[in-house]
């Protein structure tokens, strides 16, 4: 019984922790962020499984986590506002040649993060960006300055 309870508590605690940590771990995983992901995962599993290393316990823990994931996915689809809470909402970082400082500071994204995303789109400097948007999954979308809306 404790395994199931620990798995459920662990799932929600991890969801909250990763959600408030910042959005970067979702997409741009640097070695600095690898440390956090592995450490948190390792610590949570200790409390979830405990001393009981039986297959039964591991299966129950995995099933509890998978069911919680399905439940939260269903909630997210059922109640639209929960999608913003769980996944976050897109944040505009740069628009028409101006940094959106509130979004930049609050999401802890630097200009070189935006430039890194821009380079992957073949944009050679910041002035070539019309919009930079931090997506729900942590990726930065770039819309080039010469790109026209339909």
């Amino acid at each position: 019984m404790y395994t199931i309870v620990h798995a459920i508590v662990g799932y929600f605690f991890l969801l909250l922790t990763v959600r408030v940590l910042s959005r970067r771990p979702g997409a741009q995983l640097t070695p600095f962020e690898f440390v956090i992901v592995f450490l948190i995962g390792g610590v949570i599993i200790l409390a979830t499984v405990g001393d009981d290393k039986s297959v039964t316990n591991c299966v129950c823990a995995i099933l509890a986590v998978v069911l919680m994931h399905q439940f939260v996915s269903w909630l997210r689809t059922r109640y639209g506002w929960l999608q913003n809470v769980i996944d976050g909402a897109p944040v505009v970082l740069l628009a028409h040649g101006e940094w959106q400082l509130e979004g930049m500071n609050s999401t802890r994204v630097e200009d070189d993060d935006v430039m890194a995303a821009a380079r992957t789109k073949g944009v050679m400097n910041l002035s070539g960006i019309k919009y930079a948007i931090l997506e729900r999954n942590g990726a930065i979308s770039i819309i080039k300055a010469n790109q026209k809306a339909d």
Binding site: Y2, L16, G50, W81, V92, A95, G103, I143, A149
Partner: protein
């Protein structure tokens, strides 16, 4: 054959600059960022409280108590953690020794709730009765102490009692100690 369900595409995603559908919601974001700051304060408080031992295994969790008759000095953890080992130590005073032996009665919550794993040193005898266990230890010299290796089996509040029934006291006739222990999940 059932028809495939379809729905018309609506331009429902909020746009920026009236051209790019982003779905940005700054009102929600500002509320979320305030919430994030509050969560970080709570996380910091939890870590500080844990360092102080408010959740067990720290200075605030350790307790040291003397019984009124001076028969026992008890060192224990007032905040335990579920399934985590700890030691309950009882130091005996001279009045606890009668005919070269010490008798100690412990309530059965020490075994059931606090999960006593073993008693050090091993008692000469142990008798079950009166809602607890009466241990008898051989005592040749003082100070003598007995340790209980605990490993709580349930989270919650556990209440335990200790008595030295054979203590040579005028009043009270037997020396008692009782305490509550919070077992963290």
């Amino acid at each position: 054959m059932a028809a495939t369900q379809t729905a018309p595409v609506e331009d429902s995603i909020a746009k920026i600059g009236n051209e790019v559908a982003v779905g940005e919601d700054m009102q929600f974001q500002r509320r979320w960022w305030r919430f994030e700051k509050a969560v970080w304060v709570v996380f910091l408080l939890i870590v500080l409280l844990d360092l102080a031992g408010a959740f067990g295994r720290g200075p605030l969790a350790k307790a040291h108590a003397n019984t009124r008759g001076g028969t026992m000095v008890v060192d224990y953890e007032r905040i335990e953690r579920f399934s985590t080992p700890s030691i309950l130590t009882i130091h005996f005073g001279p009045s606890a020794v009668v005919d070269g032996r010490i008798q100690l009665w412990v309530s059965d919550s020490v075994v059931k709730e606090l999960g006593n794993q073993r008693v050090i040193p091993e008692p000469v005898s142990s008798v079950i009765g009166n809602g607890g266990i009466l241990y008898t230890f051989a005592a040749t010299s003082l100070p003598d102490s007995v340790e209980f290796a605990l490993q709580p089996s349930h989270p919650g509040i556990a209440h335990f009692e200790l008595r030295v029934p054979g203590a040579t006291l005028d009043a009270p006739l037997r020396d008692e100690f009782e305490a509550k222990v919070v077992v963290m999940p």
